[in-house]
């Protein structure tokens, strides 16, 4: 790679095609299961292995998923779309054609607004632990810029099987369990202008398909994978440069690395006086490089034509309306509601809507604790809970501390029964399975906060008498000494003294 490539001169243009595996019970054109991890070919029926004489029958549930997606991105659900055959020979493509949609896809248009910036591209993603992202964002308080990305289309299609090149002594094994798995291919306009925008879009899309429940988003199992079309052009040029398509990016990190590499490579090529030729490339995570798989010359002619085995897919406005009525509240609407009703910041609202599970957890906590405590609930969910989940590598669904338990802690903080510090101790206890709620732990451990004025006064007197040195230092102007005195008071009560009362009283006594 040419290390002196002049990035400032070049504008990057990226479009993404994403394959989201749909969460149906069975395959898109057969009754076989699509569960991951079965023995090879255990989930391949007569239809899946393309025996002579078999026919496809469309899975209604896959269409429901497509309609949900169309509604979620504000696209048009086509009243009539057509399944077409994409013809090519490959051993793991049993019919030697893939049933897809070509001229008339099920969803047309739509868009996604995504936030791009340091850490903020993750706002709709669960890829980074929340507490870490929160930290990043607090250091960069400027709201991240929002990018509007238009979608061209989304269409239904079937997946191919898998070719297994290892373990067969020079031969290739074919596993057709995946053949016929329903996919929604989501295609953007070439609207992205940087790797960061592309990754931000992919993360936002990933969060959205999970949010509306049409895809489990499991990238390691291939449930969500992207192809990136990348080109560069001099700033100010109207025409696009020649693009190369990076295939099968199955992690956000690889996407970032692959596009970054590809951009630098293309700029270097052009600056060295070479032309980019249209090609399909693969990213090698080991070398961090992209390499050409096939050029345009040996590109397939897929000979698309409408599949005569399937009728046109007609979707009535009534069907769309029926599904629309069952749609969950979308993240953006939920964020607006959190800001308005819970008086959360836009940032908090975005964090809490990273996943439907997280949002539900938060909402359930607020429901129990009371809407006045929403901010405290938000802080706990994004802070302690998120950190603990990530430390223990646990899913929120498996959290030992339920929303009910967390709400019991929040209520005791709010009514000053406990301090924040004690609250963390209680959270720990509940996390370890000790007690049913905050109150049982408080009682069992005797953690009730000391807020009795007389008791606090006696405590303060005691501390002042025992720490004359600190008192003198404070009076000499050392503010630090004051903190030491507070610390002593808290220590003496094992943290149970109301810190605000202690502070106030100490100030009062010292200034007397």
């Amino acid at each position: 790679m040419n290390s002196v490539a002049n990035f400032a001169k070049w504008e990057v243009v990226i479009g993404l095609e994403t394959h989201a595996q749909l969460r149906t019970q069975s395959k898109i054109f057969s009754g076989s299961s699509i569960a991951f991890g079965a023995a090879p070919n255990a989930q391949a029926s007569a239809v899946d292995i393309a025996l002579p004489g078999v026919l496809p029958v469309l899975n209604r549930e896959a269409v429901v998923c497509a309609i949900k997606f169309g509604l979620a991105v504000g696209g048009t659900v086509a009243p009539r779309s057509i399944f077409a055959r994409k013809n090519y020979f490959y051993p793991d493509l049993p019919k030697a054609y893939q049933i897809s949609q070509f001229e008339l896809p099920v969803v047309v248009g739509g868009s996604l607004d995504v936030s791009v910036g340091a850490g903020a591209e993750s706002r709709l993603s669960t890829a980074e632990p929340l507490h870490r992202r929160e930290a990043v964002l607090r250091e960069t308080p400027v709201p991240p810029p929002s990018k509007h990305i238009r979608l061209t289309r989304a269409h239904l299609e079937e997946d191919a099987g898998k070719s297994l090149h290892e373990d067969f002594h020079g031969k290739t094994g074919i596993d057709l369990n995946r053949a016929g798995t329903p996919l929604l291919e989501i295609v953007t306009e070439p609207d992205m202008r940087s790797t960061a925008e592309a990754v931000a879009y992919a993360k936002a899309l990933h969060a959205l398909v999970r949010w509306i429940g049409i895809c489990d988003g499991n990238m390691a199992e291939g449930s969500f994978r992207c192809d990136a079309n990348v080109s560069v052009r001099p700033f100010g040029q109207a025409e696009f440069g020649t693009r190369r398509e990076i295939k099968n990016l199955n992690s956000f990190r690889f996407m970032q690395q692959a596009i970054d590499y590809e951009i630098a490579w293309q700029i270097a090529e052009i600056e060295d006086g070479r032309k980019i030729t249209q090609a399909t490339v693969l990213f090698d995570p080991d070398t961090g490089e992209t390499r050409s798989m096939r050029s345009k010359e040996d590109a397939h002619d897929y000979r698309y034509f409408p599949d005569p085995d399937l009728l046109p897919l007609d979707i009535s406005p009534e069907w769309v309306a029926e599904i629309g009525a069952q749609m969950p509240e979308l993240p953006q609407a939920m964020q607006a509601r959190f800001c308005a009703q819970h008086e959360l910041s836009a940032y908090d609202a975005a964090c809490l809507t990273a996943s439907p599970e997280l949002a539900a957890y938060y909402e359930n906590t607020v429901r129990e604790a009371g809407i006045a405590q929403a901010k405290i609930c938000a802080n706990w969910v994004m802070g302690e809970l998120s950190a603990r989940l990530s430390r223990d590598e646990t899913d929120i669904a498996q959290s030992p501390v339920s929303p009910l338990m967390l709400a019991s802690i929040v209520r005791r903080i709010a009514d000053q029964t406990i301090s924040n510090k004690i609250a963390k101790e209680i959270f720990d206890a509940l996390w370890q399975g000790e007690g049913a709620d905050a109150d049982t732990v408080i009682d069992a451990r005797g953690l009730r906060q000391i807020s009795d004025v007389g008791a606090i006064e006696a405590l303060v007197e005691e501390v002042l008498a025992a720490n004359q040195k600190s008192v003198e230092e404070f009076r000499a102007g050392k503010e630090k000494a004051f903190n030491a005195l507070v610390g002593q008071a808290m220590k003496a009560t094992k943290g149970k003294a109301n810190p605000q009362q202690v502070t106030d009283l100490l100030r009062k006594k010292l200034s007397a």
Binding site: A46, I49, A50, L51, P52, G53, V54, L55, P56, V57, L58, R85, N87, F89, P91, P94, K95, A96, Y97, I174, D301, R303, Y304, F305, P308, D309, L310, L311
Partner: protein, 488 residues
């Protein structure tokens, strides 16, 4: 009663119920006729007496239990593109020579449920591509009326076994005339149902938007009985139509008085042999005598049906036949260098010449830059042809004309000239393009004493009416009872 081989299905059923003979005896009778005559005809690709007799025994038990229906114990044979569990389904091709179907086609399952007894699997033009049954890896089928002539195709074996009375009834398919043209050439009654009437599940596809399973029988009456058992909605075929089941025998005896018969000008123009014309005209005289009136109609785009068909059918076939790639089942070339070489050699060795020709044509018309000029245009023509019929049916109840321009031609006559061969289907193809039901019935003899077929085309779902016309004609004529030498 008549002899087993000339009896109608109703007569056979009555005899079985009356215990005049058993289903086993009936099956044995046809198996022994097959043993005797099929060496000359080459109509069967697979027979399996053990399987056949086991089914016959089961039918006898069912009759004994009093649970039998109208078709229980009646033998039937299937064109070799129907999947029958445990039987080979070669499609007349080398590429599926050793393919044993692991499941029953929907229509086979229906007939099995009715208690019919499978006699075997029938020879055919490879993947149903042909009009003479000379395109079979398993050799040409001979016409029982004249062993030097073709039986027609692609359901040549289907026609030959019924004509020679090696089976009382048989199943074929019709994509461009593949049941009607052999029916005409062999003096039989064959009916292609409205597209969507019969499930295509388990029927190896040639051209998916045109294929229909079709009964081949000695008479309209038998045809109606079999069709009734074949039809019905099947959720496994998305093009199967959700309609109430119909008894196609119910209207056979309605009088024809006032029936309006449309005669398409284009079907009586140049290219029609005089002997065929003569037979058709005398049949029309007979139909008028039965009370029908004839009106001239026009199908202006009829001439475009052949070129449109030879774009659409090969296009679909090129894709449908891609699955025969040597990877999962069927023939694989014994030696190859790499994957592409394996595909190329397997398909070059596994497919015959006509199949390769149509795959090439289909691949060409679907190719980038040609799609609009060929495939899309052909689909538009297809709609025009359907519109022509719609307009014609405003003036008539059924359309009648010749099934074929000539009688059965000698073996080898057209094998060097594909276009001449394609012209054998000139009158039959348009009803497939329009999805209409159409049938052929024997209506006389032409040159060399060979049978002539009369074609009846009806509006969508008018099978009952067509069968009524055919049955009334057969009540007034005896062409359908004429037998070739080997069946006398």
């Amino acid at each position: 009663m008549k002899q087993m081989h000339t009896a109608s299905l109703a007569e056979l059923s009555a005899a079985l119920h009356a215990k005049q003979f058993s289903a086993v005896e009936l099956a044995q009778f046809f198996l022994s006729r097959t043993e005797k005559f099929d060496g000359d005809l080459n109509a069967f690709i697979s027979t399996d007496a053990d399987k056949t007799l086991a089914m016959a025994r089961a039918a006898d038990e069912r009759i004994a239990r009093g649970e039998a229906g109208a078709l229980t114990g009646i033998p039937v044979a299937y064109k070799d593109l129907f999947c029958v569990d445990g039987w080979r389904a070669t499609c007349g091709s080398r590429i599926l020579e050793n393919f044993v179907a692991p499941y029953d086609a929907h229509v086979v399952a229906q007939l099995n449920a009715a208690g019919m007894v499978t006699l075997g699997k029938l020879n055919m033009d490879e993947f149903a591509m042909g009009s003479s049954n000379e395109n079979s890896y398993y050799g040409a089928v001979k016409n029982p009326w004249d062993l030097s002539r073709v039986p027609g195709g692609s359901s040549g074996g289907t026609a030959a076994v019924v004509a020679a009375r090696l089976a009382p009834v048989a199943l074929g398919t019709d994509t461009g005339g593949s049941i009607r043209q052999p029916a005409a050439f062999c003096g039989l009654t064959g009916l292609k149902p409205t597209y969507g009437r019969v499930s295509r599940y388990g029927m190896v596809a040639y051209a998916s938007s045109l294929d229909q399973a079709s009964p081949m029988a000695k008479s309209a009456e038998d045809c109606a009985l079999l069709l009734t058992a074949m039809t019905g909605f099947d959720a496994r075929d998305s093009t199967s139509l959700q309609r109430e089941t119909e008894d196609f025998s119910a209207r056979l005896n309605e009088p024809l008085k006032g029936l309006r018969i449309g005669l398409p000008r284009e079907y009586f123009a140049d290219g029609l042999d005089d002997d065929v014309r003569l037979a058709i005209e005398s049949a029309l005289t007979e139909l008028r005598a039965l009370g029908a009136i004839t009106v001239e109609v026009t199908l202006p785009n009829a001439a475009l049906s052949l070129p449109a068909y030879y774009v659409i059918a090969p296009a679909e076939a090129s894709s449908n036949l891609s699955r025969f790639d040597g990877v999962r089942y069927g023939y694989r070339a014994p030696e190859y260098k790499d994957l592409n070489d394996m595909y190329a050699k397997t398909r070059a060795q596994g497919f015959g010449e006509e199949v390769k020709r149509r795959i090439l044509m289909g691949t060409y018309v679907l190719s980038h830059g040609y799609y609009d000029a060929f495939y899309l245009k052909a689909q538009k023509i297809r709609r025009l042809i359907a519109n022509d019929f719609r307009a014609a049916f405003e003036q008539c109840d059924v359309i009648v004309g010749p099934t074929t321009p000539t009688v059965a031609f000698p073996l080898g006559d057209k094998t060097d000239d594909p276009v001449q061969m394609y012209l054998a289907d000139i009158y039959t193809i348009s009803s497939n393009l329009a999805g209409l039901p159409a049938m052929s019935i024997p209506c006389g003899v032409g040159q060399h004493d060979m049978p002539v077929g009369l074609q009846i085309i009806g509006p969508w779902f008018s099978e009952s009416k067509m069968l009524n016309v055919a049955h009334q004609y057969q009540q007034a004529s005896d062409w359908h009872t004429r037998l070739p030498e080997m069946a006398r």
